[in-house]
Each structure stands twice: as C-alpha cells, then as structure tokens.
Amino acid sequence: MSPMEEQAQYVLRTVEERGVRFVQLWFTDVLGRHKAFHVTPAELEDALDQGMTFDGSAIDGFSRVQESDVLARPDLTTFQLLPWYEEGAGVARVFCDIVNIDASPFEGCPRQQLRRVLGEAHAQGYTFFVAPEIEYFYFEDLAVTSAPVPIDRGSYFDLLPDDTASQLRRRTVLMLEEMGIGVEHAQHEDAPGQQEIDLRYTDALTMADTVMSVRHVVKELARQAGVAASFMPKPLANVQGSGMHTHLSLWRDEHNAFIGDGPYGLSDVATKFIAGLVRHAPEITAVTNQWVNSYKRLVPGAEAPVGASWARHDAAALVRVPSVKPGRIDSTRIEYRSPDPAANPYLAFAVILAAGLRGVTGDYELPAEGERTAPLPQSLAQAVDLMEESTLLHETLGAHQVEWFLRNKRAEWDAYRGQVTPFELERYLPLL
C-alpha cells in the first residue's frame, strides 16, 4: 500500500471501529473563517479518494472570473476524532487543501499558501516553528445591541474562586490536550473575562491548523456552558484587547538556527530575521491584523506595538527577544507581538515567515534596539494601502489573493467610515 492508501485505510477503519457518524472536512476562506463539509461514512471513501467538488464562488476569496469549481482534498494526517461528541455517535474532522479540478494547488487556498512559503524555507534548509499565545474573552452573550458583559471581574494571573471562567478554561485545556494539542499554560489575562492559552510550539502548518481547532473548541465549550467566547481583537473600549503574540524559531536539522554569539545569544540568522520582520512589518500588518477593529488594539499605552522596533524587555516592542532559562538554550526564539487571534493563521504565519526570510536572504542589518524605524499602520485603510505597494506580499500571496484582499478590505473600510459612532454623538452633538 502507498502511504496515501495506508492513511485512507487508517481513516476508514477508524471511522468504522469508533462508530463515527459524520466526518467534517475543514478548511478556511481567505479571511480565516472556518468552513466545513459534513460527510457521512458512506460518502467518506469517495471524498478521500477524489476530494469534494464545490463551487468556490460563494466563499470569500475563492471566486474567480472564469471558473468557480474547486476541490477540497483531505489531508489525512490531520484526521482526528472530536472528543466532545458522544461515543457511538462520533464526529471526526480532517483538514483539507483546496486544489483546482486539475489537482494543481488553488491559489486562493490559505493552507496551500502557507505550504508554499514553508517549502521555500525548506529549500534553504529551514523548518519554521511557531508557538502563539491566544487571548480571548468570555462574555455572557454576543448580543450586539450593547457592550458585551464579561463573565468575571478578574485580572492578570488572578486566581479566582472556581467560577465559570476558570472551569471553562480548564475544561478547554483538557479537551485540547485530548486532541493532542499541547498547552504550555493558560491563565486569566489582564481584562475582565479575558483569558490566555499559550500553545506549545509545532511546525507552522500544524500550528495554523491548531489555531483553527483552538478557536473552534473554545467557542464550542463556551456555548455548552451557556456563555460565549470571542476572539475579537478589541471588544471592550477601556481595557486591553486580545492579541496573538507569536513565538518564532527557525531550525536547521536538529539545531535551533537562532542560537548564536550575537546580542542576547542570537545568531546571525536570528538578527537578520528580526531585521526582516521590523522592515516589512508595516506592509504585512493588513494580514496579521485584518479587521477595522484590529487597529483599536494597536494603540499607545495598551501594551501593544504601534511601531516597528525590537527590544528585549519593552512590552510595546513589535519584536521581543524573550530571556532563555538556564539550560534551555533550545528555547531561544523571538516573539512577534502585533498579530491578533482574529487573523487567518495560515496567511499570518506565511507572511511573518516570508518577511523574516527576506531579512536572512537579503542580509538586512538589525536596527538599534528600541529604535522605531517606522510606524505600524493606524487603521485598516492605511494597512491596505501599504499592502498594495508591497512586493513581498504580492510575491508571497500571489496577485489573485492580494487583489481580492484589497477589494474586500476596502469595502469593509468604506462601510465603516460612513458610520456615526457613539463617541462622535457624545462629543459633538451637544457642542456643534
């Protein structure tokens, strides 16, 4: 049996043995929204064999002028039972790559985009590992008529009596572990109702899949507990927003390529990678922070970066070089702090890697520590303009996706800028 046949056999047999009733074929649109087909075991063999044909035109970023049929092809290595369904009425999931009918990679598929950039890194001998810290809020509900109400009043690292939020966070971590997702730690974050789950590093493709799974599990368990979870970057005006600080390292064979004799034990590769991130940060921000709301998190005084800089300790720096514990030199890494958890993780990791690699291949010089080389965009409109000018993004994401992204995001901005906000009414109506 070929490895593919063996994998298919594994999946089909497991479905049979475990009484799986549905298999969800997961994929994401360009904006990172979670999509799924639900197939019954009877249909599964065909789906595994030939993929699922569907009309991509209804899906954001998938539509093209001439042709709209694409194929979702399951990546069988990602087959996994979803542990919150009952035994005997099981549901499993498998991530899909989207390909064209002729089986060539579909350029609108974020997972394939990430694969391509990882392939480029691989060609240079590198593997890319990431470990995100995912922040989110638990609210009483997601009604949009008034400001959301957090389900607790805790703050940073607070150990609260065993309330709903703590129980929920703990159940979520256990559920993730059951799915083989390693959680380094989880804690209460700074704002009321805000939580953080820090994931243990994996290769970037697995991690992008994992981020999709985590968002799904967090929301599902919150729903089961009668509350709601949100990864919106800045849901409450006067407290911190939710970020997705992402720890990065490049490996060459079994060795961490970021370890060296440079500042803070960093290698030449690491400093150039940082330089690449710092230089290209403004143009990739449209991808790592893709919503109007994302820019309300990236404001001064909120421990979020507002400019392109690197430092060891500054919580407002864009790139931070975390201290490495004695004897744990392999954990040498850098932390990229602008992304938010509402980003498309596939595209976010792809552009972060592409920016860093540019620094390595282009021999970029590291700016002085703490020096702000450029501001980050202050709004989606600015971010999108920077994206349009960016050769890096055109080369990384392809013309098709950049063009679609620009159109979609400009429409979002236009819809937003015509709004009259409570801020304006409060401030101007009595006065003007």
Binding site: P3, Q7, Q9, Y10, V11, R13, T14, E17, R18, L76, T77, T78, F79, Q80, L81, P83, R115, L118, G119, H122, T127, F128, F129, E177, E178, M179, G180, I181, G182, R200, Y201, T202, D203, A204, L205, T206, W251, D253, E254
Partner: protein
C-alpha cells in the same frame, strides 16, 4: 498458535510482536498437540525444522495436513542447507523462513499468513505496559481506554512499540515513520512525542522515554530503564 518443538529467542519475540500466544509442543506428537489445541482450533502452526530431525518435521507436517481439524497455515523455520530438501514437499507447508531468523520478517510472515487464512479472530496486536494496539483495526488503547490518534501519531507509536527498549534518534524516526519530506523536520518528532504522551495520559506518559541527546525509546517501566 501451535509451535513445535520450542519457542525461544527470535521466535518468541516474533510471537510477541504479532500478539499471539503460542502453544508449545516439545514432542511434536499428535496426542500432545491435540491436548494443547484450543476450543476454536489452532490459527497457524510454526514448525522449527532446524531444531529436530528434518524427516520428523516433514512427517509431522504430513500428519497435520491429513488431520480432520486443520491447524491453519504451516510455517517452516529452516537452516539454509535444508532448502534443497523442500523439493517435492511443497504441499506440506504454506510458508518458510530461513535462519538466522529476523524477528520482524517472521512476525510479518505470521501476520500475512494469518490474514491470508482469513482468520479474523487473531488480529495482529501489540501489547506492552498497558498499551494495546490492534494493527488490523488501527485502534490503540491504554489501560483499556481508547486513544484517539492521528495517523502519524498512530504510526509513530506503532513503530516505537514494535521495537521496545531500542533507542531511536529523531532522524531515524523521521525517516522510518514519516518516510517522506516533511515541513516539520526532526523537531516534528518531539512535537508528536509530546502529543502522544498527552494522549497516553500522565500515568503512562513514561512509556515513551526521552534518551538525553540521543532520541527516544519505548519502554515498559522506569525500572527496566535502570537495569
């Protein structure tokens, strides 16, 4: 499964790997064999022709063949010089393995013969320190609790558990288990081991041991590690 006349060394290991318990008949006499026979009959017979006179071994095969109740496929273990003697006796056996015996070859042949014989009741199985893997159904359980594994986790666990107490480097595991170019590189092995340990649960996580600056090994207990 019937085993004549002894079951030691690589033969015993192969049985362990295959997950079947041998019934050993030292005499190779039919009455002893009948006494050992389980209610649902033997699934297969392994005759070590190198361990007793060749003609006796062939006679035994002939007797087993003419018996009312089949013993399932007959597998001969031979020395190289005995190969010529097999001529015109092809009907007496179903498969043969030439010494020196290779555990995984013998196990694979056993498994293959059992499967060809359509014997569903003897699924190839790995049992080790509370871990049970049914290689036919791809299901693994730890202390009776079913584990939900991805394909690569299953493959890694199967590889490690098939070769208990052997230390493998990350590179070896990557090439033997993944076998193809993979984005994760050698560190992927760490990630999968971490995930497997999480799924094994705290109590059994030690089944996969980290061997400092080398790699990993699958072992039964910490005490075995220290001996």
């Amino acid at each position: 499964m019937l085993c004549v006349p002894s079951c030691e060394g690589p033969v015993r290991k192969a049985f362990e790997v295959t997950g079947v318990t041998p019934a050993v008949s030292a005499s190779g006499r039919l009455n002893e064999i009948a006494a050992l026979e389980p209610a649902d009959g033997f699934a297969s017979a392994v005759i070590n022709a190198a361990a007793f006179p060749f003609t006796d071994a062939m006679n035994l095969c002939r007797q087993l063949r003419s018996r009312d109740r089949s013993v399932g496929p007959i597998i001969l273990l031979l020395d190289h010089y005995q190969l010529d003697d097999l001529t015109f006796r092809e009907d007496l056996f179903d498969d043969f393995v030439v010494g020196p015996l290779d555990v995984s070859e013998l196990a694979t042949r056993l498994r293959h013969r059992l499967r060809r014989a359509g014997n569903e009741s003897v699924a190839p199985r790995i049992e080790h320190g509370g871990l049970s893997m049914n290689l036919e159904t791809y299901q693994a359980s730890i202390a009776g609790r079913i584990m939900d594994l991805t394909y690569m986790e299953y493959e890694l666990l199967r590889f490690l558990a098939t070769n208990p107490n052997r230390v493998f480097t990350r590179e070896t595991l990557l090439s033997r288990v993944w076998g193809y170019e993979y984005y994760g590189g050698a560190r992927t092995v760490d990630v999968h081991v971490r995930r497997l340990r999480a799924k094994l649960g705290e109590e059994h996580a030690h089944l996969i041991q980290t061997v400092r600056s080398v790699g990993y090994k699958f072992g039964t207990s910490p005490s075995e590690y220290s001996t």
